[in-house]
Symmetry: C2
Subunit: 231 residues, 2 copies
């Protein structure tokens, strides 16, 4: 990709999402409308809204339909995450963001986290899975372990944040991910991304997918904010 | 119960919980320790930590083991919530807090919310289920609908909040619940409860179960804070 990312090229690297508890059917309709209008690479919704998003996008839509698994706490059992992931495949989701078990990682139970990542990725293969770390709660060492597991189990991306924790994709945290992954896996940065300066800095660190609030995403790709940084 | 609730009697009306993404095995061990030491009525953890909580509480513990379903977004599919609830029963959970589909309720899809509540309650009967509304995101009318569904489907309690949204159990929101339920169902207030003044006001409104952060709960039942309001 050519940096800096702007306009249509930026849109092809943005996942727009409506994954808060309060998002309504009207929000999903609007999400689909802007995805079709601006060519965002993917749109993510909570699992129960996947069929609605598909219907709202319409046949032949270019935007991928994504959904999270075990989101946002990561504290569901592996069995529940597997059931959820398999149902999403059946529903026709095209990419999944798997929330790891943060509590287990913090507790040093790496084997549990690894087995869960493997189980879900294997169950939905060849569907691409992003391994979601929620970096706000992790030490740099824990982030490195998460990255190693994601690479080992052949996830498509490591993803930083849910948007539910107090902090999102900071430059410092993404630098840790970059140094731990060195191009072996994609990086999706999400949470609090609102301007071109952040996008440009994250792009330089190898981020190729941005999870951005749908309203902000439209403003960015249409240059309504941060235009001073645009080309 | 005799008001105001203080000391051991207060503990018998408090659910202590560790249901954030970052809670670790060490946190669960401490949760069990304080539950046994102070006689809290229930302790709640994310589903994957239920066996650990049971082990930490030990045989013959008086504190009930609780866990949430579809928590905290409420946006899992009904099938996933059912799978999770059934697994929790198998694991020996003694009460479940079911997160309703907030997005559907806001969208006016009451039939969906109702069918899901019914499905989960029926699947785990006779296990008591608390219907968790996340009142921060709901209008008063939506809160009333949630209460009506919980009563109709014979839930044990209506519960206000997850602790994950910006707002918790406010007096105004609990008053709406009280007026909608009038004793037909228990009320569990949770989220941001930190002092005797709030507990007393909520008790007067008919709240009989308080979901309280474990550290704050210990301070309250041992009178280390808010003692000026104590008897």
């Amino acid at each position: 990709m050519t940096l800096p990312l702007r306009g249509d090229e930026l849109a092809r690297h943005i996942d727009v999402s409506c994954v808060q508890a309060f998002h309504s059917a009207a929000d999903i309709a609007e999400l689909a409308r802007i995805a079709n209008a601006h060519g965002f690479v993917a749109a993510h919704v909570l699992p129960h809204f996947v069929p609605r998003l598909q219907a709202n996008l319409g046949a032949g839509a270019k935007t991928l339909v994504g959904a999270p698994v075990g989101f946002p706490s990561g504290g569901a059992t592996t069995a529940t995450k597997l059931a959820e992931a398999r149902e999403l495949v059946t529903m026709g989701a095209q990419e999944l963001d798997l929330m790891i078990n943060v509590g287990r990682l913090i507790s040093g139970d790496t084997a549990y986290v690894d087995a869960e990542i493997k189980a879900v990725i294997d169950a939905v293969a060849p569907l691409p899975v992003k391994v979601l770390l929620e970096v706000h709660y992790l030490s740099d060492d824990q982030i490195r372990i998460g990255c190693e597991l994601a690479i080992k189990r052949k996830a498509a991306f490591v993803k930083t944040s849910t948007g539910w924790s107090p902090g999102g994709a900071t430059i410092d945290k993404v630098r840790v991910i970059r140094e731990a992954t060195r191009g072996a896996i994609g990086i999706k940065a999400s949470g609090g991304i609102r301007d071109f300066a952040t996008i440009d800095a994250l792009s330089e660190l190898g981020v190729t997918r941005f999870g951005i609030n749908s309203r902000v995403a439209v403003e960015l790709v249409t240059h309504q904010v941060g235009a001073g940084n645009g080309r």
